[in-house]
Subunit: 335 residues, 2 copies
């Protein structure tokens, strides 16, 4: 039985990934894994209660011995988010850079060359007046992060590439797109509103969009993101070659197109709950982000499916809420 670790497993993507691995273990694993889930916050109840799950709750920096205990596969998702890291510089260094170093050192000590999928981010890209950010970023685009979050993610990509080159791990970095629609409350990520302008109107609540309707951005659904992470974990090493940072598939979409999709899926009354109120600080951050991304390796070489459309991304959220029995709250705004 494969020993598999997920860091940040209490988070939105981490918990979904854990459930997916238990229900649909990748074929090469030959069955459901022994799953160790670590997070600084408690796990969702279903995962905490699952007999196949070992939960380790506490700061990443305290888990050096755990990391050295001989996992076969590791998904490293634990991370402070972009907004937090801009406000608290030391938190970003500690959580996202030092935390990853402690993990990698533990895996090196274990000596069994585990396969590691690292959740990097589209935030590694940014405008650079020495160049011009291309209209569509891809894996050949020179990274120029404009946040501490993106800086630390990029540094970790290169560190993971070097641990891989040295044979300590078999590492793969996934540049995650903005994941939407996220359930629950807004979080500290500057990209949080991309979920908010869909989630709140569906719940019958008014939402404020802080950027112009023409703002474009690559977005992926949680399910597409999970499938990409699993696909990257089981991708043959020789297909990846030395190209360790892979841009994940996304739907490239403007805010106006997102709201058109919301109207198609949920009706004009839902869309009407979104109003525009320009936030200069936030719009300034978003202006430094790529407007579109191309997933060359993930789509053309590895064949990851991605999302069919932004309509499908909204529908996935609605279906998830129905499955979770949250129609009376999360979908209160649907006729």
């Amino acid at each position: 039985m494969k020993r598999v670790l997920i860091t940040g497993a209490g988070g939105f993507v981490g918990a979904r990934l854990a459930r997916h691995l238990l229900a649909h273990p990748p074929a090469p694993w030959g069955g459901a894994p022994a799953l160790t889930l670590t997070d600084q916050y408690p796990l969702p109840a279903d995962l905490a209660a699952d007999p196949r799950v070992t939960a380790v709750i506490g700061p990443l920096g305290d888990q050096a011995a755990l990391f050295a205990s001989g996992f076969d596969a590791v998904f490293h998702l634990a991370s402070a988010v972009s907004g937090e890291c801009e406000l608290d510089f030391e938190l970003g260094l500690r959580s996202n850079l030092d935390g990853t170093r402690i993990l990698l050192e533990g895996l090196r000590q274990a000596g069994n060359q585990p396969t590691v999928v690292f959740s990097s981010s589209i935030a590694v890209y940014g405008p650079d007046p020495g160049l011009t950010m291309p209209a569509v970023v891809d894996e050949d685009t020179l990274p120029a992060p404009q946040t501490s979050y993106g800086t630390h993610k990029l540094m970790c990509e290169y560190l993971i590439a070097d641990y891989t080159r040295k044979g300590f791990i078999d590492g793969r970095s996934a540049r995650l797109m903005t994941v939407a629609v996220r359930p629950g409350k807004p979080n500290g990520a500057a990209s949080s509103f991309f979920s908010g302008i869909i989630r709140e109107p569906l719940a019958g609540v008014e939402a404020v969009c802080p950027v112009d309707p023409s703002t474009a951005h690559p977005i992926a659904s949680p399910q597409s993101t999970v499938l990409s992470l699993v696909g990257l974990m089981t991708a043959p090493r020789d297909v990846l070659k030395r190209r360790l940072a892979v841009t994940l598939p996304a739907v490239n979409v403007t805010v106006a197109q997102m709201l058109d999709a919301l109207e198609r899926v949920a009706g004009p009354a839902v869309r009407a709950r979104v109003r525009f109120e320009h936030d200069a600080r936030l719009a300034g951050i978003v202006a430094n982000w790529p407007r579109a991304a191309k997933a060359t390796t993930a789509t053309d070489v590895l064949g990851f499916p991605g999302d069919a459309s932004f309509d499908a991304i909204i529908q996935q959220y609605i279906d998830d809420m129905r499955l979770a029995g949250q129609t009376a709250t999360a979908l209160k705004g649907l006729a």
Copy 2:
């Protein structure tokens, strides 16, 4: 009086830089600086005896309080070299990554936004089968380091860019070319032979070249390197924009062209002391290095002069040895 720090000041480039700053302080500094020189090894005697110099000898990691003491300008040259870092993975992380972090944190604590020139390296470049390494690398080339040394240098470039973006320092990274001709003994750098095949024949000693005559590489003299570092320190911020990693000027030259230059400058008897003996391990490392580099910002925008030719680089070494009174040893092989 400007308070200026050089780390790695006991090294070949560091000591030359220190002497240069004392003899020819940059005009904007309004006179010779108060110079603090730190190194893990003792300084050369002339610098240790200079009343304008404060020497701090010890590991970089022990100097956190020094770094926070309010320097106006910092040249960060301290570094374990490439060969050492490949042999001792932890040394590379400790010296080149953690050492730089301790320096940057000290400078941030000081709170006076010092100007920082960081010595990065051409080792950030490498072949990447997802791309092809271009025939001539420049600042638009996607870095793909193939050593731990190059990995850590690149990580520090991005960290310095983020400290700069946040306003903690005014940082500039210089990608140093291979510096030759180095005096003294071979060191642990895989590029050491580029100096050896000039230095040893001039001293009347046979030299072994471990790579083919067609091997090409960008090389800069120590004086050109020092002038570039000082030029980058005083370059206007707005000219650099956000482009913080600058490739320094170099002479792009093959080993055969280097030996032709040696013959022109020192005669056929000197050249005849070089014999070729292929070293597969070393040639394999060198094959991953750029064959030529273009210093777009340094040459076209900042106007750094660079070296006129490889002949001039050899002549600089001969002149240096004559000035140092080492004709009987270092230039013993000259007629």
